[in-house]
Amino acid sequence: MKKILVLSALAAMLASGNALADTSDKKIAFSNNYAGNSWRQAMLNSYAIVTKKAVADGVVAAADIFTTADKEVPTQAAQVQNLILQGYDAIVINAASPDALNGAIKQACDAGIVVVSFDGIVTEPCAYRVVVDFKDMGRQEVEQMAKFHPEGGNLLEIRGLAGTSIDDAIHAGILEGVAAHPKFKIVGSVTGDWDQTTAQKAVATILPSLPEIVGVVDQGGDGYGAAQAFAAAGKPRPTIIMGNRQDELQWWKEQKDKDGYQTWSASIAPGVSSLAFWVAQQVLDGRTDVPHDLLVPYLAFTHDTFEAELPNIPKGGVASHEYTQEDAIAAIKANIK
C-alpha cells in the first residue's frame, strides 16, 4: 500500500515536469525588517511552517530567516549585502522602504541572486514583487460602507504608519472610493499606526471635535481600538471596517450576537510570505516566464464568513493562509497575460 503511494507520488512529480528536481541544492534567505506586531509574527510563523516542510522534503537546501533589530532602512540594506556575501541563491524580502533599498537590491541582482519582495515591496526592476492590491482594498472599504449606509454620511479615517507605501496606497483607494460615492465625506483623519492602542488614543482625542460619524475607514489593526474609543466617549457606535485581527473579529461577533451589527473585514494575509517563498523557488527552478509584478488578492471576510474563521485565529493574532507550491504556480499563471 505504502509503495503504491510513493510510486504514485513519484509519478505525479514526473508528470508535473520541471518542478521540484532542480532546486534541492539552492539556499533561500528571508530578510525581514520588523517582527514587533501580531501580523508580522503570523507572517514569520507561516513562513517557518511552509519552509521547514520544504527543506525537510528536499525542495530547497536551506530557508533561513533574518530579522533586523530595528525598522531602519540602512540596517536592512546592510543585511541584504551580508546575505549576498553569504552566498544565498535567492532572497525573499519584506522591505523597510520601496525605494531606499534599491541600491542593495541591485547589488544582489548583479551577483545573480533572485530577489522576491512582498508586503513591503521594492521598486528595483530586477526584483520580483508579490503585491496585494491595497488601493483596491481602500476603495472596497468605501464600497462596502455604501452598502451599509446608502444614505451616505460622515466618515472618520484612521491612517497607518506615515511615510509608508501601504498607508499611501490604502489612503489613495479610500479617496477614490469617496470620489465615487460623493454622499460620503471624510470629516476627520487620525494616525493609528496599525496599532489598537495608538488608534484608540488618536480617535479619543479627535472625537469631541467631530460631528456624528456613520463609519470608520481604516487600515486594519486599528478597528478594535476605534470601537473602544467610541464606547468610552459614549458616542453612537459607527460602522467600523475591520482588519482580520482576532480582537476585531471577536468584538464584531459580540456586537453581531447582540443586535446583528454588520461590517466588513479585510487585510493582507500574513501567509503571503510563503507565497513569495514559492515564487522564489519557481524562479530558481528555471522558470523564465514569471512576471516581475504578481498581483494577489487580499483576504476579506463578510458578515456571513467571519465567524467560521474566528476559531482558527490565535488570541492576539490575525487571520492567515499558508500558500502551497500549487498556489504559487496558479498565481503566476493568473498574472501571465
Binding site: D64, K71, P74, A77, N82, L85, Q86, N102, G163
Partner: protein, 326 residues
Amino acid sequence: MTAAPAETGLKGSSERGRLARARLLRGLLPAMSLVLVLLAIAWLNPRAISYFGFSLMLNLAIPIALATIAQMFVIAGNELDLSIGTFVGFVGCVTATWLKDAPLVGALILLGSICVYALLGALIYLRNLPSIVVTLGMSFAWQGLAILILPKPGGKAPDWLLSLMAFKPPFIPFPIIAALLIAAVVHFGLMRTSYGVILRGSGGNAAALSRAGWSLLKTKVVLFALAGLFGVLSGMALIGITTSADANIGNGYTLLAIAGVILGGGEFVGGRVSPIGAVIGALTLALAASPLLTFMHIPPDWQVAANGAILIIVLAARVLISRRER
C-alpha cells in the same frame, strides 16, 4: 584638554606609569574591538574578507561614521544631539529631491539647515537651555519636514553622488579610503590646530576659557555648525548608497552615533573626544550589528536580542577599561 592637572606631579612614578598604560589601552581599545569583530567575521565567513566583501560590508558604515563625527562635535562641547538621526533623514530627502531637480535650491536648503544648527548652538548657549530638550524638539521638526518633502518614499540621488559612492579604486575598497580620509581631516582640525584646542576646551573647562577672553558663544556656534555640516555629509553619503530616500531613513542614527563616540573613547563631559576613535567606533558598531549577526545564524526569535547583546558586550569592554584609569 585631557592633560591631567598639576597634582599628577606629586604622585609616584609607578602611579604615573599605570595611568599612562591605562590611557594607552583606552586609545587602543577601539582599534582592538574592530580587529576582534573582523577576526570573528573572517572565521564565520571567509568569503567576506575580500575587496568585494569589504566594499559591501563597510559602505553603509560611511554615513554612520559621518553622523558619529557630527555627534562627536556636539559631545565635545558637553552637549548631546538627539536630532542627528532625523536630521540625516531630512538631508536625505532634500538630496533625493531638490538637490537633483534644482541643485542650486537644494544646496541653499542644505546650507540653510547648517545655519539652523548654528542658531541652535547659539540658542542653547544664550538661554542656557538643556541641549537634550532643544534637540529632541528639533528631531520632530526635522522628521516633519522630511515627511513634507517626501510624503512617500522615493526620489533619486543626483548622478554625480551615485557615481562618487559607487567609485571603485584599485586595491583598497572605497569605504576604507573614505573612513581614513574622514578620520585624518577631523583629527587634524580638532586635535592639531589651535582653535581645535579651544573647541575642546569649551567642554573641558569653559570658565577658564571665558576668563582667558575666548567667546563661548562662538565655540558653541562653531561646534553645532560643524555637527550640521557633517550631518549633511552623512545624509548625502547615505542617499548616494541607497540611491533613493525615505523620510524615516536616518532615525536609527541618533543612538548609533552616540554609541560610536563613546565606543571610540569619548566621554559625555569634559571635551574628551577622539575623531579617529569615533570613526573606528562607528565601523565597529556597523560591523558588529549587521554582518557579524547575519553570519552567526542565530534563530530569528533571538536575533534582535543578540544584536543588543553584541552592542552591550562591545560597550562594556570600553567601560571596564576606562574604569581602570580612575
